[in-house]
């Protein structure tokens, strides 16, 4: 009996130890997850909210988006109060652009085809006249829809981020910088990948948000995307997408798995893919037949040094020779 008691006591002690270890692991995991997101603003209110003298303290102008996410020096992550702020627009050549690219390439005279012509960064595209190429109203879940009488904005019904059922770009994203943003399951704007959710009635974009916005990305350390990013792009560029799930393709497909016979197996940060599931961490392996091609496999979201916001110089990609970059990352047989 005493032996049994002693065994039980030891068991309880061991279980307590295990519980403590488990608790520490869980706490650490939660901390790591929260730390990874880094989108919840921390620090003094005034750092952001009194940038504009004369403007009521909590009525923020649209240009605050750009003011806050810009930088006069080449750094693409800046410290603002106690928050790390991803820089999308450097007024000088960025040291390392982030995953979305950098509006520097659009705004600094390199041509209007280098990026999304967002108000506050660049004038409207003279060819598109505020019409998103391939825009199909029925593909846009926004009740307001995109208006070609207004300019493209960062957010709102004429933008990408925030609630696209709200026209005002600031109101469309109100509260998201202070909201719980984990897990990135698309249930709220804040809990959608990079605040991309379209509207309250559709699921937001999901994925894994790399803590430095891909500033120092490697095949082992990078954003992870799901094909929900394609559906998001389709909101404004629906005409570029078709229902076919097999070739011959009439437009470059997205949301289809990489052909099994191809040899793209090691992640190349210059041609990201979408994962079918599991967005908890970056993976360096590409699995043909499982992982899929996405809009962002070729394009950047904001602006890039290249025409059509491509990740590479399309003019420099040639077939039948020794190159392995650009299109040839996936199209290894070409």
């Amino acid at each position: 009996m005493s032996t049994v008691f002693a065994f039980t006591q030891r068991n309880i002690v061991m279980n307590k130890e295990k519980m403590i270890v488990l608790l520490l692991i869980c706490t650490g995991t939660v901390f790591l997850i929260i730390n990874t997101a880094a989108a919840v603003v921390k620090g003094d209110c005034e750092v952001c909210h009194v940038l504009f003298p004369g403007v009521p303290q909590y009525e923020l102008p649209y240009t605050l988006c750009i003011e806050c996410h810009s930088n006069a020096d080449p750094d693409t992550v800046k410290i603002f109060g106690r928050s790390k702020v991803p820089v999308v627009y450097n007024s000088v050549k960025p040291s390392r652009h982030l995953a979305g690219g950098n509006f520097y390439y659009l705004a600094r005279g390199f041509g209007e085809r280098k990026g999304h012509n967002v108000a506050g960064v660049s004038p409207s595209d003279t060819k598109f006249n505020n019409n998103p190429p391939g825009y199909v109203r029925t593909n846009d879940p926004s009740t307001i829809g995109y208006s070609d009488t207004k300019t493209l904005k960062c957010s709102g019904s004429n933008g990408c981020h925030g609630n696209r059922n709200i026209e005002d770009p600031v109101k469309a994203i109100m509260g998201t910088h202070h909201a719980v943003d984990q897990p990135v399951d698309g249930t709220t704007t804040a809990r959608s990948y990079r605040y991309l959710k379209n509207t309250g009635t559709v699921k937001g974009v999901t994925g894994f948000e790399e803590e430095e916005w891909n500033r120092n990305s490697t095949p082992q350390k990078h954003n992870e995307y799901s094909s929900s990013i394609d559906q998001f792009c389709e909101s404004c560029h629906g005409g570029f997408h078709r229902e076919e799930k097999s070739g011959p393709w009439f437009r470059h497909p997205t949301g289809v798995t990489l052909p099994k016979e191809y040899e793209y197996t090691e992640y190349n940060t210059n041609a990201p893919v979408a994962r079918a599931s599991s967005f908890e961490f970056s993976k360096s392996e590409i699995v043909p037949g499982v992982d899929s091609v996405i809009c962002l496999s070729c394009h950047m979201a904001h602006a890039s040094p290249y025409e059509s916001m491509l990740r590479w110089d399309y003019d420099a990609i040639v077939t039948g020779e020794e190159g392995k970059d650009g299109c040839l990352i996936c199209h290894t047989g070409k």
């Binding site: 085809r113 190429p133 437009r251 070729c298 077939t319």
Partner: protein
């Protein structure tokens, strides 16, 4: 199927293209160092010039992706147009098969260079510039077409009326390199460039674009017929040597090298490709066979044979009229069992083929012939009526 493939491979074992071309001609003896140097330079120049002049065409596309493709059929907010054609087109091409190979039907360019790629034009207006397969200009809708003068291919001509809405001589379920040909030719299926209802590409694939998928990007330096990309002119399973300019300005010693096989033991001859659709016209047992066409050596032909060597003519080659066809003629070319594309001599082993009389796409003459068949025999010359190129004694 394995047997078929092994036959294909067997026929290519001895292929050794251009080896003889790389051997420079003998030079006169030289005694001085300068002479030796001059001789070496001259040898190199001659060798190089011979090499380049004999280099076969390379169908593998080179250059910028954008030269041929458009990713979203969009440019600066508008749909792409290519010539007068509006897309989108399959395989992300700017203009589809005809858009690329018939870029300017009214133009004078029979070969268009786009970036690093030279593209043979199947329809154009260049005087005396028709390529080996002819010119669809003679049958193309909008160009005073005469449908007797060419294949009525979708996108170029309307479908012909019955019975010409089906290939003349068609037989169901014949053996093709990929397996078995179609069981019947539905009336609504117009001839296409490629696929089951076309000539090029995988004929087991109904979709014409899927049928040639990847072929333009295949390393085709050796045309062994094991894939579409490695087949002569993307004619699946067919071997041969491709003249680098598609026979534009070809000469008797620089021309397409057509594969023939008088033994009818292989599927890789150019005439077999024709026979896949026009089976009753080919003596191969897989196709019409002797019942339809007749026997070599000892019978009167029921139909003009193809894949038959001059050596097998009734009564023997020696002393026959064919013995007088000795210099390769671009008017009535012949095939070879092991073609090089440089053969100048025609002899007993040279092989009559479908393309001895016809071209593949369209010509200015009825029945896609290479010459005017109705010419007065008394006025025949080898340049005006190709029959007498082979049938040398029938001109008087």
């Amino acid at each position: 199927m394995m047997k078929k493939l092994s036959i294909l491979f067997a026929t290519n074992k001895n292929r050794n293209r251009h080896v003889s071309l790389l051997t420079p001609p003998p030079l006169p003896p030289v005694s001085t160092l300068g002479g030796i140097f001059f001789s070496a330079v001259l040898t190199a120049i001659i060798a190089c010039s011979l090499f380049f002049s004999a280099t076969p065409s390379e169908a593998r596309a080179k250059g910028k992706c954008r030269d041929c493709h458009t990713m979203h059929n969009s440019y600066e907010g508008r749909p792409m147009t290519y010539g007068n054609r509006t897309g989108p087109f399959p395989m992300l091409t700017k203009g589809g098969c005809v858009g690329c190979h018939g870029q300017n039907p009214d133009g004078a360019e029979n070969i268009i260079t786009l970036g690093k790629t030279r593209i043979p034009q199947i329809i154009h207006r260049r005087d005396k510039g028709d390529l080996a397969s002819g010119n669809y200009s003679y049958v193309a809708d909008g160009y005073s077409p005469d449908y007797t003068k060419g294949h009525n291919v979708k996108g170029i001509s309307m479908q012909e009326k019955h019975p010409m809405d089906q290939p003349p001589g068609f037989l169901a379920g014949v053996v093709i390199p990929e397996g078995e040909g179609p069981a019947y030719w539905p009336a609504q299926n117009q001839l296409d460039c490629s696929g089951t209802w076309g000539c090029h590409g995988n004929r087991k694939e109904e979709n014409s674009y899927k049928a040639v998928h990847g072929a333009h990007h295949t390393d085709d330096s050796a045309l062994d017929g094991i894939s579409v990309g490695k087949s002569y002119r993307f004619l699946s399973g067919i071997t041969g040597i491709e003249h680098k300019d598609w026979e534009y300005l070809a000469s008797p010693d620089r021309h397409n090298g057509y594969k023939g096989d008088p033994g009818h033991n292989s599927l890789n001859t150019i005439s077999y490709l024709c026979g896949e659709c026009h089976a009753r016209f080919h003596p191969n047992a897989n196709l019409g066979g002797s019942k339809e066409v007749g026997h070599a050596y000892n019978s009167a032909w029921r139909k003009h044979p193809a894949d038959i060597a001059f050596s097998t003519v009734h009564g023997g080659y020696a002393g026959s009229e064919y013995q007088e066809y000795v210099l390769y003629s671009l008017v009535a070319p012949v095939a070879y069992f092991d073609p090089k594309g440089t053969e100048k001599a025609v002899d007993a082993n040279s092989i009559v083929m479908c393309l001895s009389c016809h071209r593949a796409h369209a010509t200015r003459y009825p029945d896609i012939l290479r010459w005017e068949y109705n010419n007065d025999p008394l006025k025949m010359t080898s340049s005006s009526n190709g029959c007498i190129v082979c049938h040398t004694r029938k001109k008087q």
